[in-house]
Symmetry: C2
Subunit: 351 residues, 2 copies
Amino acid sequence: MLLSNLFSNLAMDKSRDFGAISNLILSGFAVLALALAATIARAQDPLPSWNDGPAKQAIVNFVAKVTKEGSSDFVQPAERVAAFDNDGTLWAEQPMYVQFMFALDRANGLAPQHLEWKDKEPFASLLKGDLKGALAGGERAMEEFVMATHSGMTTEEYERIVKDWIATAKHPRFKRPYTECVYQPMLELLAYLRAKGFKTFIVSGGSIEFMRPWMERVYGIPPEQVVGSSIKTKFEMRDGKPALVRLPEINFIDDKENKPIGINEHIGRRPIAAFGNSDGDRQMLEWTGAGGGARLMMLVHHDDAVREYAYGAESRIGTFSDALMAEAKKNGWPVISMKDDWKTIFPPDKR
Amino acid sequence: MLLSNLFSNLAMDKSRDFGAISNLILSGFAVLALALAATIARAQDPLPSWNDGPAKQAIVNFVAKVTKEGSSDFVQPAERVAAFDNDGTLWAEQPMYVQFMFALDRANGLAPQHLEWKDKEPFASLLKGDLKGALAGGERAMEEFVMATHSGMTTEEYERIVKDWIATAKHPRFKRPYTECVYQPMLELLAYLRAKGFKTFIVSGGSIEFMRPWMERVYGIPPEQVVGSSIKTKFEMRDGKPALVRLPEINFIDDKENKPIGINEHIGRRPIAAFGNSDGDRQMLEWTGAGGGARLMMLVHHDDAVREYAYGAESRIGTFSDALMAEAKKNGWPVISMKDDWKTIFPPDKR
């Protein structure tokens, strides 16, 4: 369109002198160049699913600062550690943590061998399909439930069980695999940070062995960069081969004040950026923020009931308390509004 | 010298026909080319401190196999995980684990505040300089001693203490910093594996926070690739800032049957190569060997009393039992003879 305008202008202005024509040609090319530049900029935008706004700006500004050599905020690539919560930050956690859906499916499969579950909470409620009743015991009870239904087998057997389940299970509302209920804007953020020399880590309350089997494929994050909760394992010989057998005993719950502990134990370096979405991430963000130099701490706020979910202080899953919101404001942690900051929520349908 | 021989030969053979002369010139160049090729080969040898022999050959063969695309032994770069023990495998562990020397220095500094140590083993023996008496309690007693003298401060304070100590402390026999009592052939091996797409990990019984402050500089291994023993920490606010405080409570002892557990927890992938030097590494090597595909498990044998130390089954530090030697033979784990396989032990003196 621009080109045809240019030529029709030229055609109408045949009588003008050569200087005017050449000016017109030059200005035509300038318009073209600008249009081209805008197209390239769109194509090169590393965060195309983010609307322009304070959240996107905070990310871009931070990355520019810490990667600019010679700047006082410059951070060596080795120190560019970014920590991401998973549930509610990278993928949907409603109506229930995905790992819990997995545990529920497993519990139903295992129930015939565990008649005692009929009288024991939260098993009894869960087997009746009463999520609310089960949740009455709090997150710790659910964690124990998860652990209890995920022990007894070797680590290799467990990995196979997880891979099989995650390949077929679907989100009850979105009717697509859970691994496609991940947030497209956050996938772009992960890739953008890595392109800028960051190492991206998961620091999740989810169990480490539930996450590793699919995170490399889905997030591009290798197993050694996944920090999470775990149960104890035992080294023993099975059929003449060494095996690690999963014990029904909690080793570590990577949540709240334990997130900085998990970071210290597994990463051994303080992140310079951290992303979360709930009260469980507060200490991770505080720990990240307490280091020297430029820092970026952000919280995903689920305020989009139409495209995903809207929940906050009142929710048992992914509680985002008023106190956390107040702390974010006080500390200048940008809060990401799903509704306003994200153009799309999930990646394009792969089918 | 080759060139001058060539020309003197030419001078003596002036009477010969041109064909003979040109043959001579060609053969002279062939000799030159061979000599040059040998020089280049030496310069390009990634393991110049290793003598030619079965140990070096095993390494080179293994790396060639797993990195050759299209070969049935090919391993994707992401799966090329190599695990290294530290004490006795990468640096000298005699006459005593370095961390223990550190603990001893700290205990002496702290003794005035701990009068109860006078009557408590292994503290009492240690403060009297009686290493042998202290060792009577076994390695676990020493580990507890190490933990006890390394708690109470924040992780940041502890890192500073380690850095200060390691910068000045010297090996009692070699009179050089401990970080220069590392094995030059193993430094070359680490670099060689990384150049071939491997990720190199430490899997040591030493405490993780004693190792991380210097391993990136000395071994090129970043903190997140260091697996080791640890004490528990506690998240708390100190002077209004979040801090992790080290507790006098063991979290994990990364030795023997716990090494595969530590590998699973931190790396989440089974190594395809593992290097150790003692009974403490047996299960790590077994675990590594139990995976499918090409594997390399090797043991450093300290048989060089002249240049380093000679010890084995009888030693409390770095015990290399007859049973381990028998297992190595049975499984085809190459045993590295320090005396025969290593041209040099330590890096050149930096002073």
